[in-house]
């Protein structure tokens, strides 16, 4: 492999941090949080793929495919929930949904 593993890992870390910041900061919109989660998952996938290339085995790539499948399922479910929530409360701000808080 031309790209060294370290570069892949640094990229993955940057990507993960971006996703995390997006999730934490953009809390007024649940869709943006979902996007952040997707970015973090992609970072994880990148590590898998990079590892697979580095050691010359296919396991990581298989795992990346499985994550893609899982992600698509998760996104479809999450988007359904978002639609449901929006219908109920007419907002997608996560802080508005605090019915489970202990008071």
């Amino acid at each position: 492999m031309i790209v060294p593993l370290a570069h892949v890992l640094v990229l993955a870390v940057i990507l993960f941090c971006l996703g995390l910041i997006c999730t934490l900061v953009w809390r007024s919109n649940v869709i943006m949080m979902l996007i952040g989660i997707e970015i973090m998952l992609n970072a994880a996938m990148l590590v898998f793929v990079g590892g697979a290339c580095h050691w010359g085995t296919a396991d990581g790539q298989v795992f990346a495919l499985m994550i893609m499948a899982m992600t698509s399922a998760e996104v479809s479910l999450a988007l359904a929930l978002v639609v449901y929530l929006h219908r109920r409360r007419n907002t997608v701000d996560t802080d508005e949904f605090r019915e489970l808080q202990d008071q």
Binding site: L24, R27, T94, D95, F97, R98, E99, Q101, D102
Partner: protein, 645 residues
């Protein structure tokens, strides 16, 4: 003998307990009174039987009590001439006082408590007297203290009386510290608490330690026997019912201190410092009490100060090593002081709780049954020749003379001067209370002093009826007081009964030549007669009404100083009470509330605030939870990185 000794103590104890438990419920008033009197007279009978079968000093162990390693304090009683003579006196005088109390308390609803405590009082005193070891003596000592506290504050609904009770308790407690320390220390030194054995071991120790022990015991005796400087509780103790005063003064309480010193004298008497300290305390107290009594106008307070003074004489006797003379005076004093108190109680009851002597008068004709015994008691107290009080007081004074030296010579003069003052105040009391044509009942308040106990009864004028049971206990006491001299006649009249009876205990006390003794008695008689004459010149006949009108003016100068007991109360208030109160206030407001409480309050506020902050995190906001999760994950990763690095 064992049975008799047990009965002497157990009967009053049983009477007190049964009255406390059953009185008012199972017992009618009559049976309650009957039980209270019967147990004391039963105890008296037991004491008489014990005296009859007495041969030599005896130690009787009744039961084990405290026992731990070397420390042993069984319930052991010790009968020797000293404790036997005191037991006889206590049971007899207390029996009469109990009978009198039946009459005195006839209108009181709390008679059950009264009689139960009165019985317990006697039981505690008998325990004290008969105890063979110091812890048992201490039990009786504290029992006496407790009962006196409860009885002085008997009418506790009036805060003044309750305060008097507390004062008596606290002041005597100061002295008890000395006794407590002495008891523990003696066990440490000798390994035993038995009085008989301790008394044989006095010469084993250096004089310094014996002196310290003696001074500790003197402190205890000062508290209990109301000696200078711990005498302030006794005048206030007059707040109690009169039979209680009589019992405290005559038989059960104040003599305990003198008894302790007499009991331990073989041990502590080997130190001349202790003897001198005892003698000086006694002489000082005798003088103090007598001077205060001259200026009092409350009948019971006169008697209270006279007790302080007479107990001072006893201490003086003990300090001169004259145990016989001190015992003799103790016994005779018990008779005439009980008599005087009971007589005063009769007067006060008759006049509807009037205690100011300047509002009395003419009682000689109205109360002959009280007057004649009271006269006998007054003659004894004044020490007029041939009464019991004369012989006993002279015994002490001649013992002081016999000891000799500068110090004791001075003390003899103080004693003689006190005898003069004693005669003056006794006769003043007698002439003002009983003399004069009639009872002045213009009950307007004089110099603002409120001396009447019962204000609503002030309006009632005239002389009330007196139950006969209150008058006849005075007669045997009067006979004993007058004839008390027969107990211990001087050497030139054939020697004393008490002297030979106490001889095994005291050893051979040296006696004076007959001529010297006669000379001393002559001077004592002259002094007493001079005092009587002085009182007569001031208060006799027509001059009495003059003094009465003088008494309308408020006291000033020396008279006020003496009436307030040398202002010792104010002095102690300034020296001890106020600094203590100030310290307590400081500790309470600054240290406790200001420092400790405040800090705790502030800590709790901070903790509450912190909790609220933590609570704010758990408000179910998704973003916050996510942030928390991220931070936790970061921390975990950092930790793992740290560990693997």
């Amino acid at each position: 003998m064992k049975l008799y000794l047990e009965l002497i103590i157990l009967l009053p104890l049983l009477g007190g307990i049964s009255n406390a438990l059953l009185g008012g419920r199972l017992f009618s008033r009559r049976s309650s009174e009957f039980v209270a009197c019967a147990v004391i007279w039963g105890s008296c009978a037991a004491a008489l039987t014990a005296a009859y079968s007495y041969r030599s000093p005896e130690v009787v162990e009744i039961a084990t009590w405290l026992s731990d390693f070397d420390f042993k304090a069984p319930l052991t009683l010790y009968l020797d001439p000293l404790s036997l003579s005191l037991c006889l006196m206590i049971t007899f005088v207390c029996g009469l006082i109990h009978l009198y109390a039946v009459g005195y308390m006839r209108d009181d609803h709390c008679y059950v408590r009264f009689f139960a405590l009165l019985n317990l009082f006697v039981a505690a005193m008998l325990t004290l007297v008969l105890a063979e070891n110091l812890p048992l003596l201490y039990l009786g000592w504290e029992g006496v203290g407790f009962c006196s506290y409860a009885l002085i504050g008997f009418w506790y609904s009036d805060p003044k009386n309750a305060t008097a009770g507390r004062k008596a308790f606290i002041v005597t407690r100061i002295g008890d510290i000395g006794l407590g320390i002495a008891i523990v220390w003696m066990f440490e030194l000798f390994g035993t608490e038995s009085i008989t054995r301790l008394n044989q071991m006095g010469n084993l120790l250096p004089v310094g330690i014996v002196t310290a022990l003696g001074l500790l015991m003197l402190l205890a005796a000062m508290g209990k026997s109301a000696q200078v400087p711990l005498m302030v509780w006794l005048p206030d103790a007059m707040a109690g019912p009169t039979p209680v005063s009589a019992q405290i003064h005559a038989a059960t309480m104040v003599t305990a201190g003198v008894y302790l010193l007499m009991r331990m004298f073989p041990l502590i008497g080997s130190s001349t410092t202790v003897s001198a300290a005892i003698a000086i305390t006694g002489a000082l107290t005798a003088f103090y009490g007598a001077t205060c009594a001259v200026a009092q106008r409350d009948l019971k307070r006169i008697l209270a100060f006279s007790t302080i003074s007479q107990i001072g004489y006893m201490m003086l006797g003990v300090g001169s090593g004259a145990i016989t003379a001190a015992t003799f005076h103790l016994l005779v004093h018990a008779f005439f002081k009980a008599l005087l108190f009971l007589g005063a109680g009769c007067v006060i009851t008759t006049l509807h709780h009037e205690q100011d002597i300047f509002r009395m008068g003419g009682l000689r004709h109205k109360l002959p049954g009280t007057y004649w015994p009271f006269l006998a008691g007054a003659l004894c107290l004044a020490g007029l020749p041939l009464t019991g009080g004369f012989f006993s007081k002279d015994g002490i004074l001649s013992a002081v003379w016999r000891t000799g030296g500068m110090l004791y010579g001075g003390l003899y003069l103080v004693g003689l001067m006190t005898a003069f003052i004693t005669a003056v105040y006794t006769m003043r009391m007698l002439l003002v209370v009983f003399g004069g044509p009639s009872t002045p009942l213009s009950h307007q308040a004089v110099d603002g002093a409120d001396l009447t106990e019962n204000k609503d009864k002030r309006m009632v004028s005239g002389v009330g009826p007196l139950p006969r049971i209150m008058e006849w206990p005075l007669i045997p006491l009067a006979l004993l007081g007058l004839g008390g001299g027969l107990l211990n006649l001087p050497e030139y009249l054939g020697g004393g009964l008490l002297h030979s009876f106490l001889a095994p205990l005291t050893g051979h006390e040296p006696t004076l030549p007959h001529a010297t003794e006669l000379l001393l008695q002559g001077s004592a008689a002259i002094v007493a007669l001079a005092g009587t004459a002085t009182a007569w010149l001031r208060y006799g006949g027509q001059r009495r009404s003059l003094r009465l009108s003088e008494a309308q003016q408020p006291a000033r100068g020396l008279q006020a100083f003496l009436r307030e007991g040398w202002r010792v109360d104010q002095l102690y208030d300034l020296l001890f009470v106020r600094p203590y109160v100030r310290l307590a206030t400081l500790l309470w407001q600054r240290v406790d509330e200001g420092c400790i409480d405040d800090n705790l309050d502030r800590t709790s506020t901070q903790l509450g605030r912190f909790g609220n902050m933590l609570g704010g995190l758990g408000q179910g906001r998704v973003s916050l939870s996510l942030t928390g999760m991220a931070i936790a994950a970061a921390l975990m990763i950092a930790w793992l990185a740290w560990m693997t690095a």
